[in-house]
Symmetry: C2
């Protein structure tokens, strides 16, 4: 990935990688290896990018502090992915076996805890005043996961429920990353809040697109995992919209409510969703959030960094993987 | 429990309870309830006590800061217990159903993460300089758990391996609690290190006694869970010592190496261990650590708080539950 928005912070994003590797080194070789396995599997580094660009876009002059904080966000994000994969019994993450399959559930829980702790150490050592942002995000993450669990296989789930889920899952940590960058640049509160609203909005859009991509791929194409959310009974926006369809909705509802679905069911459910206008409605909804987010950062003075933030916003709705 | 060492910090320990309850309150009622369930199930509050007594024993004058830090330690400790119980497939904790049985594994992982985050927030907001102590402890915890997992049902485990396990499991967090209390009281480094060594040593003794109590109870007495470590194949000092016995060792080794043990096996293994001198050797070993710990705090000036710390040391080797 070498999207244009990467260009102006390329060296900073490289530093993020180095900070992550050195901070996750421990006396235990297997633990160190597990952490490397997780962070080396790629990922878009959107949270570090939001943090660093918000810092520079707010007039910050020494990006090294934003680099460290950005690395902390990526480490905390990775920790949550490890635990999420255990919770969802996920088998593949970013094209590789999930950590708990590779190293046992027990060790993966511990590794997640360790990464969580390392992320907090980095944050607290760099800027104790921003730890609160991340805690808010962590609490929301927990709340979102709770809502998601409560609505597994429950077809009465609403769009509002879904927004609560993805607020915790994605938007709050995006928001915290941007606000943290702005805060350590001593941004005025209106700038800080504007950047927070921007990141929150593109976070919602990001997750909607992510969930839409899970139903638009080809299930026969083994290289790509599709329909995993359906397999787990997770309520996502494409499914919620499609269940509202007068023609295809009822059959999809019965499939969604089924506790033990097989591959046939998934293929049929995907067909049903694609037969409705759910996917275009989802993409339109994501586009609306991005549009609002673009306006939210009007108070931020123009700069190449602001342009890069807008570039991330555009990337989020145009990406196909 | 109203041991004498509690007396001089009774109001502080009550404040610890209140801080925990208010800090663990979140917008999600189930999450709040889960956190309360965990912290209300009792526990000896040894980590808060070590923190507060180390603070006061180092000349600190405003215990409220040590109360908050002590609460953070207890919250972080509770978070690790939740995840440990999942890892060990534990069913009972402090006489009640474990959290993951009561609320599902997924929600328990999330609740543990949440408590971890709240604990770090408390620490970082009170005294960012001590976050490092807790991170060291967290890393050691992970390392200890890794060693423990690696030696499940492995009879070649040594006393040194066991010490590495309990260093991470217990001693490092005890040490961090005492050092943190001393640090926020601006103790001289020799006092701080002395308190750290003291807490580390009684932490080792505490865990040895804990593991010994797991084999000295009566397995027919259903009110008390005994032999759970053996059931899980966990290497503990009584088992390690007993496996060295020329007469009873070989049969115990074969039981310990068995992956799927039943109740009969446990009862037999307990009989074998009790037929050796393993239990008295364990208690003697714990007493040695406590004795060394008592000497370690020689540099700390005498006070009722130092006496209370010594009282905790004595309690640890004399307790029967």
């Amino acid at each position: 990935m070498s999207a244009a928005w990467h260009k102006c912070i390329e060296s900073e994003l490289e530093s993020v990688e180095m900070v992550m590797i050195s901070d996750l080194e421990s006396q235990n070789p297997e633990l160190t290896e597990m952490c490397r396995y997780v962070i080396s599997s790629g990922g878009k580094r959107l949270r570090p990018a939001l943090c660093i660009l918000s810092y520079l876009g707010s007039g910050g002059r020494d990006p090294s502090i934003a680099v460290n904080i950005g690395a902390a966000f990526e480490i905390i994000h990775s920790a949550t992915l490890i635990h999420d994969d255990i919770n969802d019994q996920g088998t593949v993450r970013r094209g590789r076996k999930t950590l708990h399959l590779e190293h046992t559930v027990s060790k993966a829980i511990i590794a997640g805890d360790f990464m969580f702790a390392v992320g907090f150490r980095l944050l607290a050592s760099e800027a104790p005043q921003i730890v609160g942002f991340v805690i808010d995000a962590s609490a929301a993450m927990g709340a979102g996961e709770f809502v998601q669990k409560d609505f597994e296989h429950v077809s009465t789930v609403t769009e509002d429920d879904y927004i609560r889920i993805i607020t915790g899952k994605t938007a709050k940590l995006f928001e915290a990353a941007s606000k943290s960058g702005a805060a350590v640049a001593n941004a005025d509160s209106d700038i800080l809040e504007a950047l927070g609203r921007f990141a929150f909005g593109i976070g919602l859009a990001f997750q909607i697109v992510d969930d839409t991509l899970d139903v638009t791929g080809d299930p026969h194409n083994t290289g790509k995992q599709v329909g995993t959310d359906l397999l787990e009974g997770k309520p996502t926006l494409p499914t919620i919209y499609a269940m509202q369809d007068p023609v295809y909705g009822p059959e999809l509802i019965s499939l969604f409510e089924k506790e033990a679905v097989d591959q046939e069911d998934i293929i049929r459910a995907l067909e049903l969703i694609r037969s409705t206008d759910a996917i275009s409605r989802c993409l339109a909804k994501a586009a609306t959030y991005v549009e609002d987010a673009r306006h939210a950062i009007d108070p931020v003075p123009d700069s190449e960094y602001k342009q890069a933030l807008l570039g991330i916003a555009d990337y989020i709705v145009s990406r196909d993987r």
